[in-house]
Symmetry: C2
DNA sequence: CTATTTCATTCAACTAGTTTAAGAAACACT
DNA sequence: AGTGTTTCTTAAACTAGTTGAATGAAATAG
């Protein structure tokens, strides 16, 4: 996992370890919130075990934005970066173990060594470009197509996550997802 | 305009000027492409005059992602950052004047001074967070609501941009936008 | 200043996705 | 095991948004 992460950050082994040693363990029990909308997200969290999903709430409904599994960093970036209240929520799907670093400590690293500045830039660029791809995908493809892609490329999601959450992620009702699955099964 | 830009980049006056002096003028005539999908986007461009829009093409249709006006930086970021072919197009809506910097020169700056590294990070973070807001907006609001927001907050768009492009931006057909406008006008 | 193309509107028929409501299946808990 | 709870499926009625075709208005070219 460390290797996978440093592929993005491109830090020297020493600097990477120094970053890693500043991470502190936390845990979230299944079904519990880690961040609620309105709160300030002051920590960057890495999942070492478990799964978390992020969602907006609209009229009591959860509108799921994404899922995070082992090896994935998450935080509410607008809140973390700009110090504004978070507009979304993060909740554990399973019992989850984290390694976290506070905004202050991270800023400390940025100032301590330009390599961290660079790592921060690479991270933001990485997030930004993956974001673009997600947006493109959601514009381009119908729910059926997106479900097919998910089933093909993201077994981690389709196998670990209940269907009504997947429906919310695809931005459709569970009933409609059921209908899609039925049609796909018929055409086998 | 310079002030507005350096509010994001947070460079010292000297470093900002040094960056600014590396920019080179280019121009795009109305209706012409600046980047076509499949090409490599190797420059970051700032609009000093005119307007540009970016779009994906799907079965011959243009699906508009966004508009850029004076003071706005644009490039295909995934292509620019990761050196992959661009998946979208950029075309001038009006005769447009640019200031551009190549990826190589920008990387040169990053290496020359950590302040640029920091500016790059701030830029990527800024883009990333505005992206999130755009995505949230498009998930949350109906086309009618989004049109109302546009009409209220983005006169630059509704006044300068033809309606069929706005429809594409809202991800609806021009016919439906017409219908929306009619209904809104009736309820005045 | 007319001819041509491009843009905006209207309408009717259609399709994709929602809603409501009900039953079936899986799960959790003494 | 059996009972309550949560998840998944099915179906019918509905709504939002599309398609296609026709019409008029505006911009552009020659």
């Amino acid at each position: 996992m460390k290797d996978k992460i440093n592929k993005i950050l491109q830090l020297s082994p020493d600097l990477f370890n120094s970053f890693w040693n500043r991470l502190e363990p936390e845990s979230i029990p299944k079904g519990k919130y880690y961040i609620k909308e309105g709160q300030y997200s002051k920590k960057l969290a890495l999942i070492t075990k478990g799964a978390v999903y992020s969602f907006y709430s609209k009229e009591g409904e959860e509108i799921i934005e994404g899922f995070c599994f082992e090896g994935c960093f998450f935080t509410d970036y607008p809140s973390f970066i700009n110090g504004i209240p978070s507009k979304k929520n993060f909740k554990a799907i399973e019992d989850t173990e984290l390694l976290v670093i506070s905004k202050e400590k991270l800023d400390g690293l940025y100032q301590a060594n330009p390599s961290y500045e660079r790592a921060g830039r690479l991270m933001a660029e990485y997030l930004f470009t993956s974001w673009e791809m997600k947006l493109r995908d959601s514009i381009f493809s119908s729910p059926t197509e997106r479900y097919l892609q998910l089933a093909a490329n993201r077994k981690d999601i389709t196998q670990r996550i209940p269907q009504y959450l997947i429906a919310s992620y695809l931005n459709i009702t569970p009933q409609y997802l059921s209908q899609i699955r039925k049609k796909l099964a018929e055409n086998e």
